[in-house]
Point group: C2
Chain length 205, copies 2
């Protein structure tokens, strides 16, 4: 163990404190304020613990937790990109790749490579671990919006079809949860939280 190695690990822990200052579009369930990406990441990891039995066959919970914990770190430099904003999503990849380079690069090289690979695996969404993590990353704001009177769906005039498309990865990523998700979206529509498909939406979906 060199001092240099420990110094870089500690510098990384200090650096990522800034994720607590990155605001998402979603609010807390009590509606008191917008949620930040650090507490969202905690909520996601906790959801993985609570819902582990719904993961696809072959899922490794430790890897899912590692992904959940690091999946938003790039937002420290790249900012949070609202999922229903088509314009802002155009240069998202480039911004986030630069951010990953710098932020994970604070760590010793072996750990930087490892964390970056986890983030890339999450973004690619192909492995069972990444699919489960992505499913939860979609489910968490659904639970928030559904339990806070519509949240960002209502605020931005999101349609039933847009939500259904956004939540689609849950079907394969957490199959046991999907029937509940479908019912919740129907009910969100009935309650007026999301627009029916004949109504005017944002056009970004």
């Amino acid at each position: 163990m060199t001092d240099e190695r420990l110094s870089r690990q500690l510098a990384f822990i200090v650096e990522v404190d800034r994720l607590k200052g990155v605001l998402r579009q979603t609010s807390l369930i009590d509606g008191s304020r917008r949620e930040n990406s650090a507490e969202h990441s905690w909520h996601l990891a906790l959801a993985a613990l609570a819902l582990a039995e719904h993961a696809p066959a072959g899922t490794d919970l430790l890897r899912v937790l590692r992904m959940a914990l690091v999946h938003d770190i790039v937002e420290i430099d790249a900012g949070d990109t609202f999922c229903y904003d088509a314009g802002a999503n155009l240069d998202k990849e480039e911004r986030e790749t630069r951010a990953a380079e710098r932020l994970f690069g604070v760590l010793p090289p072996d750990q930087a490579a490892e964390m970056r690979a986890l983030w890339e695996e999450f973004e690619a969404g192909v492995t069972p671990d990444a699919r489960f993590a992505i499913a939860l990353d979609r489910l968490q704001p659904l639970l928030v919006n559904f339990n806070s009177g519509g949240g960002t769906w209502k605020l931005h005039g999101i349609t039933h079809a847009q939500v259904l498309r956004r939540m689609a990865p849950i079907r394969e990523g957490a199959p046991g949860v999907w029937p509940w998700v479908e019912r919740a979206i129907e009910e969100a529509c009935e309650r007026g939280y999301v627009l029916g498909n004949g109504e005017r939406g944002t056009g970004n979906g």
Copy 2:
């Protein structure tokens, strides 16, 4: 899979959203506001990833992460108790035990028992997993205070001896980090972030 079981899991995820509203004494490193217990739990889990190689022999990283994610959930009902406040710590155990009963009890019984056992293991601090988790739970506010001009140490007139006593679990819980911690506390004293042992402290340590 019964609907009842899934409903309880989802209700738990919704319930623990309130941890984002529990404020700790420590601030963010940029000093902009106080930190909440949800984002602190994320930071702790991330520190476990970055510092895993410093854990005692026999540490299971998955169990450490699970502990880090659930260790503060009782604060939703019991509130955060400032570590240097001897008075408030007198009934902490009773308040937190009632909170654990109610909050973990939202989950299906097998998961409630499992999460409660993890929390109790953390509180007892005997196993290698708990020792490592506790060491990081002490290190995280040290990093915050050290990098934000003294933070709660300065605010509450905490002494060198109090900080040293508070950080002592790091010596066995994350042995590779301990020499750095000792140096950091010395330097915090030199910079005037903590009081020298001859100066007047809060008397709570």
